[in-house]
Amino acid sequence: MSTEILMPALSPTMTEGNLTKWLVKEGQEIKAGDVIAEIETDKATMEVEAVDEGFVEKLLYKEGDINIPVNKPIALISSEKDSSIEIKDKKFEKSSKKEINKTKESNSNAQEVNKDPNKDTITMRQAIRDTIAEEMRKEKKVFILGEEVAEYQGAYKVTQGLLDEFGKKRVIDTPISEHGFTGLAVGAAFKGLIPIVEFMTFNFSMQAIDQIINSAAKTLYMSGGQINCPIVFRGPNGAAAQVAAQHSQDFSSWYAHVPGLKVVSPSTPLNAKGLLREAIRDPNPVIFLENEILYGLKGEILSDENFTIPFGKANIAKEGKDTTIVTYSIMLHKSLEAAKILQEKHNLDIEVIDLQSLRPLDSETIINSVKKTNRIVTVEESWPFASIGSEIVNLVQKNAFDYLDAPIIKINSADVPMPYSSELEKLYLPQIDDIVKAVKEVNYI
């Protein structure tokens, strides 16, 4: 009788993994607890242990196979030794090419990208890392610090390889001490260095929010223009997958509320590069809100090492004439999916604006779009009360009141702490269907 060993989910956001190494051979006897394989996830390379004992009947994937979906069988274990199974060294069962090709276009990781024939298509994770590295090569004052950024290679592998290239003077592991190391970085910025502070997630920035707001954002003003704070606070923001209330919240409107801070949130590898480079070069404190689920997103980039995206400039991700959707970060992708459905099912031509920069906000692009479409829906992951969408509602009523053909609809996460259960989590977060429904509503369909 055979038991299947499935590709395990080894991180909250893992949807697939790479088989880096088999530590057992076909025919080999294994006991529960034996390490049988090394699997590379979106975050790290992990060892997989056998749960049952028996004999390895078949290895269904070979070493080096990538993008194997979670829960796909990777090996068969039989309870009894089958004399027909010989111990084989390298003769692996050919993995299904079809399977791999099918998943290749979806989320992937940095290693895999190197094999991609299209050199200019990289992941968000790699785009962020490359930009940090490029700017660190150019400017010696730039350094990065945070939890697990150096030896561990980044909790989300964003800083992979930076320690090797730049050494421990400039790639610095900190203790779990956000208030302390954020304040330290702010002091270093006052004195002329350019720190990049990685928060393992922005949830932990709350431990340090006094230093971000009272020190980093206000000192230029309080010193009559003498002391600026060239610093970037970056890390994943918003919901990941089932990490519940304390680890899933969107800080965009929290930080965008504060004069003295600039707040940006990329949605693609391309704008991640342009916005991050701009952030590092900006003499002001910048909050750079990444999204964990987007780290594996692949996209084309410009290889120009001076490519920047100016803050306060939105990107029209899709032109349209019937309704404006204003969004940013991960919700851009849900909005584009919704736009596709609306086109196909309701013949509505949607304009999708990716804000990119939340403070300063590109009011001109929003207003011009509303003047063209006369309808607007805002889509974001933050809570509804005093959100980015609330500010846009204010902007539009003030500047394009007479152009509106329907009340504005604001789509946000539910006004509750993030629940753990996946079913409730789905209800909490804005979904494509919610966007479709709202756009139909402003079109009175």
Binding site: H179, A188, G224
Partner: protein, 320 residues
């Protein structure tokens, strides 16, 4: 300790006196409504900052709390511009946007003036980090009130400074009260400097009413930190004659306690030393006092004649 010259003694005396006279005048201007908001006076604590001043190098950095007027004077900053800031004028160090608690002078390596208790400690540690990063052999002196010694970020900063061997000298100005709460009602354990021991940070306690003991300890501690051995803590025992801020009647302490400290007034100690060593006569010291009074008067005149910031200034210096 290096032997102090006659000029050194007079420098000490005049700086301490200048701080005293400046603060007395600040209290008066506060009463007259020219200074608003929170205003924390340094009267009684002069020996601390002036003692440290005698050991400081030009490119060393300083960061302190909101009780910062005396610190700025001791850093050699212009009393006119300090007073202009206190009175909210455009000629102030922060162009009238900082006020008493938030004053800075980048060109003099003075990094504030911080209004949030404890916040200056990680910041000062970060400035020290920069000195080490740049390899410039300068150090950062970071002042801490006794009240901040119960604030979590202070210990996070201590840990980082010890872990990374940063050139930071922490100077605890223990004036016995965090606002109205006596140290022994706020801090568990014995001496505050001993809280560095957990991180392997050496430290000592000293009499902060006597400037000569401050100089001696600050010199030794400064050399220790500059030599690359990492942080060091001085707990300087001092006393503020006035309340926590201008609006504090200081009813939480006895008159006797205040008198006791006034009887060992830090300026009197220096005066006696100067007279004893015949560095200057009583008459000469009185002349110096009059000159300082005039200097502070002219600072007040300068401040009150200075313009308030123009309305356009409301929106400048938010970003550069």
């Amino acid at each position: 300790m290096k032997k102090l010259s006659k000029a050194d003694h007079l420098k000490i005396f005049s700086y301490m006196l200048k701080i005293r006279r400046f603060e007395e005048r600040s209290a008066q201007l506060y009463g007259m409504g020219h200074i608003g908001g929170f205003c924390h006076l340094y009267i009684g604590q002069e020996a601390v900052v002036v003692g440290v001043l005698m050991t400081i190098k030009k490119n060393d950095s300083v960061v302190t709390t909101y009780r910062d007027h005396g610190h700025m004077i001791a850093r050699g900053l212009n009393p006119k511009k300090i007073m202009a800031e206190l009175t909210g004028r455009s000629d102030g160090y922060s162009a009238g946007k900082g006020g008493s608690m938030h004053m800075f002078s980048k060109e003099n390596n003075f990094y504030g003036g911080h209004g949030i208790v404890g916040a200056q400690v990680p910041i000062g540690t970060g400035i020290a980090f920069t000195h080490k990063y740049n390899g410039d052999k300068n150090i950062c002196r970071t002042y801490i009130g006794d009240g901040a010694m119960n604030n979590g970020q202070v210990f996070e900063a201590f840990n980082l400074a010890a872990l990374w061997q940063l050139p930071v000298l922490y100077i605890i100005e223990n004036n016995k009260y965090g606002m109205g709460t006596a140290v022994d009602r706020a801090a568990a354990g014995s001496h505050l400097y001993k809280r560095g021991e957990a991180f392997g940070i050496k430290g000592e306690i000293l009499d902060g009413m006597n400037v000569y003991s401050v100089i001696k300890a600050a010199e030794k501690a400064g050399e220790y930190v500059r030599s690359g051995k990492g942080p060091y803590i001085l707990e300087v025992q001092t006393y503020r004659y006035r309340g926590h801020s201008m609006s504090d009647p200081a009813k939480y302490r006895t008159k006797d306690e205040l008198e006791k400290y006034k009887n060992s007034d830090p300026i009197e100690i220096v005066k006696e030393e100067i007279l004893k060593k015949k560095i200057a006569s009583k008459k000469e010291l009185e002349k110096l006092n009059k000159e300082i009074i005039e200097e502070i008067k002219s600072a007040v005149d300068f401040a009150l004649e200075s313009n308030f910031p123009s309305s356009e200034e409301l929106y400048t210096d938010v970003y550069i």
